[in-house]
Amino acid sequence: MKKVLAGLVAVAALSTPSVALAEKIVIACGALGQEADVCKQGAEAWAKKAGHTVELMSVPTDAGQQLAQFQQLLAAGSSDIDVVRIDVVWPGIVANHFIDLKPYFPEDVLKQHFQPIVQNNTVNGKLIAIPWFTDAGLLYYRKDLLEKHGQKPPTTWQEMAQVAQAVVDAEKKAGNTRLVGYVFQGKAYEGLTCNALEWVDSFGGGTIVDSKGQITINNPKAAEAIDFFAGLIGNVAPKGVLSYEEEGARGVFQKGDAVFMRNWPYAWSLANAKDSPIAGKVGVMALPKGGPDGKSTGTLGGWQLGVSKYSKNPAIAAELVKYLTSAEEQKRRALVASFNPTIMSLYKDAELLKANPFLGELYDTFVNAVPRPTITGAKYNQVSTEFRNGVHATLSGKGKAADNLKKVEAKLKKLGKNGKW
């Protein structure tokens, strides 16, 4: 009955936008690069059409701090936010605070999206968010520099390190002293969890906690992967990466001061924007393999839009979500800012493929991206923190990966006894 009612309300709101009173909807989008601007354009286009107003809530760049911000707002039952951008790893943590969107989204609309993401966003049968864009880690490289020094794009991480070292050495001789080999997200925050999971997975070291809830992180391959990257710090990668978030890494790469960068797809359109110093000089590829028998992988990222349970206008907020997650808006966002769509058909769109060639080439990477261990539910954030703290310690030279991962394992065992989270 409730669902039917909600559905009716939604239909009513949709069919009579001009009659409805103008309401203000507050939405939180992201803060990386041009993200806020692009989100604002979309939201305002909707507002104009629907006869409402929108307001953006600015958020910290660090995803963990964003989560803290939303948790505080929602725990206080505040109606000051209507639409929240939810990370792919959050549904298990925040599900309580969001309305079920099923009444607003017919089955055939949901079927257009990647199904694993829709499932990820369904908690206890409640669809708490609609996929907005998806992410996977990519390797950006300087095509021009590699060509200049006769190097080929690497297929393994080890090759990447060699190529980077060779290019940096050659450039240094030519007087380019600022150039560094490789930048990534090394600050102790959620981004490092993503990076390190890619390393571990590419070396065949698993996914921290497996799909059955068993803790698998303490294994030789995982240790080998992390030790390998710890070895890069201070030579191929500057020590400063230990404090870089996405934007810190992109800042260096975008200025032309790095040969390789690991980042999300959003960096593509910025790197190739009109005033960018490296426009047209950038290549992008799937992340390298961890050695000849490793695999190429990327951490599954991506963001969804949910409607707060405490919103005063849930129906109108759902309308905004519907607009922003629609195929047209996802295409626009992919064109102007290279946010990967979550609607499968868009990956065959000629115009999009031309703007973001990697969409087609790297389709498999996106579809097969390695998920973070969301089986840990509400404890995910602690699991992630323990893992990245162990990694960060290894990267900053405090002990070998094997010892640090053993400590991580011990801590995780306390959090999830016998695989129960």
Binding site: A68, G240, L242, S243, T385, N389
Partner: protein, 317 residues
């Protein structure tokens, strides 16, 4: 804000007592006025300090969760034990104490030097004293941001200067490596709070009688000897108070670490740990338990401050 009018009415009515009963009536009246005068403040303090503190203590013994704070259950010392058994907690305790000791030591040493310099008479002294106050007035967050930029590994001015002087051969990652970022945090805090120390010491210096120096000079003591044998012993009281006062402040530290280093348990103060548990893990119970532990620690230091402070009061009186 309307409360203070009550004593006027009350005392106006009984204002002129009979001469005989006057003394005791007056005393009683004064006491009543005192409590009425205090009432609004006491109410406000109970509301914003007493009640929240009591609730935090209560949460320490529950499994309260941010997702649904009403559903918390009493769990005894379970949350406290979770904190005490967490090696990360002890890392933050160690970091906080190291931070407090190192920065307060540096602040005291530098503060002494600056205070001694400012105590001399020279043209432009007032201006310099004002300049020294500038860092103190700047919001901690702002100073952390300013220093964060100066400490930037690739484009920061500090690395540029050190490279130029040949003191380092390659840029240091100031805010990234745990050891260096600890030093960076200390540097910011020292910069920001040394003025406070310097001015406290200066105030104490200016209260010292001139003639002791005369006596020391006549005895043939050099400036160094007169400092260590005359000035320092006399400064001991106020210096101790200032140091404990600053220690209390340093043990509560949160913003500098949050803005400058962010995230890593290696460089997190106790207050940061508590906040992480409460708002990043939603564990209000465990977070409150750690906050209560920090409170107990500060309370012990406050007691010490009061004892030392009173000793000084007696001397002065």
């Amino acid at each position: 804000m309307t409360t203070p009018t009550t004593p006027v009415a009350a005392s106006a009515a009984t204002g002129v007592g009979t001469p005989k009963a006057g003394a005791s009536t007056q005393a009683r009246q004064r006491t009543r006025a005192a409590w009425l005068f205090l009432a609004p403040t006491l109410f406000a303090m109970a509301l914003v300090a007493g009640w929240p503190l009591a609730r935090t203590f209560w949460f320490s013994f529950t499994d309260a969760n941010l997702t649904d704070m009403a559903a918390s259950q009493f769990v005894g010392v379970e949350s406290l034990r979770a904190v005490l058994e967490d090696p990360d907690w002890w890392t933050t305790v160690w970091t906080t104490f190291r931070f407090a000791l190192v920065s307060v030591f540096l602040e005291t040493a530098l503060g002494l030097i600056i205070a001694l310099a400012l105590n001399a008479k020279f043209p432009g002294r007032a201006l310099l004293r004002a300049a020294v106050l500038v860092p103190w007035a700047i919001p901690t967050v702002v100073s952390a941001r300013m220093w964060g930029w100066m400490f930037n590994d690739l484009y920061g001015v500090i690395n540029a200067i050190l490279l130029y002087l040949g003191l380092i051969s390659e840029p240091l990652a100031w805010t990234a490596e745990p050891g260096l970022s600890f030093a960076a945090v200390v540097a910011v805090d020292v910069w920001k709070t040394t003025p406070f120390m310097a001015l406290l010491i200066l105030a104490a210096l200016q209260m010292l009688p001139e003639d002791i120096y005369e006596a020391a000079r006549i005895d043939g003591a050099g400036p160094l000897r007169s400092f260590f044998q005359v000035t320092l012993p006399l400064l001991k009281g106020p210096l101790m108070v200032a140091i404990i006062f600053r220690m209390l402040d340093a043990l509560r530290v949160f913003d500098v670490f949050f803005v400058l280093t962010g995230g890593s348990t290696e460089t997190m103060p106790m207050a940061g740990y508590a906040r992480q548990q409460m708002f990043e893990y939603q564990l209000i119970g465990v977070g409150s338990a750690s906050a209560s532990l920090l409170f107990a620690l500060i309370a012990a230091f406050t007691a010490l401050y009061m004892v030392v402070g009173r000793v000084k009061l007696d001397e002065g009186a």
